[in-house]
């Protein structure tokens, strides 16, 4: 267990260091999300009341698309110079690599969300009518749902010829229940019309099920040729 944590933390620290030096994923995600916000604002120009009903969908779709950029970068880094082979021939457990990658992506996407959320609030003139604190568990559980599946499917599509196209093709259908939960929960909280508890429990269940499945299957994916 000790070895697992030390390898996981070393891998996470390495990924954060590499991202800090290159800023590949963060820059791409930020510019992409910014473009989505601006394009939607000019396309719809909604009133405050309308915004509360549509912005849940816009926010999560923007984050989902932006996250795909970071998820592709995660493994692209390991493919350069075939560094992943050095991990595969080592005694390090596959799950330590997977958990580190998920935590790293979670951190990067959370930073993106923290930077972009104020922009959504300003551009869409948002005022939360429901219990605003519930947006925190929705954001945490929703982001986890995106990155845990995204990290897994990005690893699966690693050896395919058009992996950047393959990731959304694999990830988006599997993410539909989570995205529906995130959007419905966010809209419920913003409008204050319905309680969001059901959707939060749905997201929590989704996260537990998919995290367990991804961790269980990752060794097979890593060792596949």
């Amino acid at each position: 267990m000790n070895l697992f944590w030390s390898i996981m933390l070393a891998t996470l620290a390495k990924d954060i260091r590499l991202e800090w030096r290159s800023k590949d994923a963060l820059n791409a995600m930020l510019f992409f999300s910014l473009l989505v916000v601006v394009i939607f604002v000019f396309s719809f120009d909604p009133l405050a009341e309308e915004s509360r009903h549509i912005v849940g969908g816009l926010v999560w779709v923007a984050f989902l698309f932006a996250a795909v950029v970071a998820l592709n970068q995660t493994w692209a880094r390991e493919l350069r110079n075939q560094v992943l082979d050095a991990y595969r021939v080592s005694p390090a457990p596959a799950t330590a690599l997977f958990v580190a990658k998920v935590l790293g992506n979670f951190l990067f996407v959370s930073v993106l969300e923290a930077l972009m959320t104020p922009l959504f609030v300003i551009f869409y003139n948002l005022h939360v009518l429901g219990p605003a604190w519930q947006l925190i568990p929705v954001a945490l559980l929703g982001t986890w749902a995106l990155v845990v599946n995204g990290t897994f499917f990005a690893a699966m599509s690693l050896r395919t010829r058009s992996r950047e196209l393959m990731l959304p093709l694999l990830l988006f259908p599997v993410s539909i229940p989570a995205v529906l939960g995130m959007v419905a929960a966010t809209t419920s909280i913003l409008t204050g019309e319905n309680p969001a508890h059901f959707y939060i429990v749905l997201l929590l269940t989704y996260d537990v099920v998919f995290t367990t499945a991804c961790i269980g299957l990752f060794d097979t994916v890593l060792q596949a040729e």
Binding site: S6, R77, N81, V83, A86, R88, V89, S90
Partner: protein
């Protein structure tokens, strides 16, 4: 008479990529503490055989045994150096080795510095590996492969793009490791560099080992025509 049990056994290994068979029933046994050089033309199956020994290529048929175990079980005893560097370009040499040391549960920086010095580089070099010359990158890659002091070293083209002087230094280092009891496999096109240092030359053709010689010059196709 040799009574040493083989440390590496390859039994009827076939490796297919789709319809293409990169290895076609390779069977061989290798003694420990020896320096084996694998030679052959491009596409002969040298790298695939090395990857099968490392556990990176799973045989379609047949089995590989390293010290009586599967390559995966024997991973602590295997050091693997590929044609690409297997290093992160954005990190310095010591940062790379520190990370790989953590995968083998090697604490502290002492061992990392020791192997960097052993391959003739400076552990204090802060430059990222991406800015190293090709020769320096190859040396650092070798340092990564020997970091955990493996019993068996698998090296794929370790001397490519390395100047002759540096290559000879690397050969001397490998010969010293062999003398210390390590088993070394080198895939190379630069066989002449290893004459005098290697114990055995294996010749591969069309996914099979076609000849094993102790002396480079005894093989019928060596030296190859210019």
């Amino acid at each position: 008479m040799n009574l040493q049990p083989p440390v590496v056994k390859v039994e009827n290994v076939v490796k297919q990529f789709g319809r293409f068979a990169a290895l076609r029933g390779v069977t061989a046994e290798f003694e420990g503490g020896r320096f084996h050089v694998i030679l052959g033309d491009n596409g002969a199956g040298k790298t695939t055989l090395l990857r099968a020994l490392a556990g990176l290529a799973h045989p379609t048929r047949g089995a590989v045994s390293i010290l009586g175990k599967t390559p995966h079980e024997a991973c602590r005893d295997l050091g693997y150096m590929a044609h690409p560097s297997l290093l992160y370009d954005e990190m310095s040499g010591i940062e790379n080795l520190r990370y790989f040391a953590s995968l083998y549960d090697i604490p502290g920086d002492d061992r990392c510095r020791e192997v960097i010095r052993a391959v003739g580089l400076d552990p204090e070099l802060a430059r990222p590996v991406g800015k190293y010359s090709q020769g320096m990158r190859q040396r650092m890659s070798l340092a990564r492969a020997i970091l955990h002091d493996p019993k068996i070293l698998l090296l794929d083209e370790p001397f490519s793009n390395v100047d002759v002087h540096s290559a000879r230094e690397m050969v001397a280092l490998l010969a010293g490791m062999r003398d210390a009891g390590k088993t070394i496999f080198v895939v190379t096109h630069q066989a002449a560099l290893l004459e005098g240092a290697a114990d055995e030359f294996l010749w591969m053709e069309n996914g099979q080992i076609v000849d094993r010689t102790r002396d480079l010059s005894t093989h019928s196709t060596y030296p190859e025509p210019a």
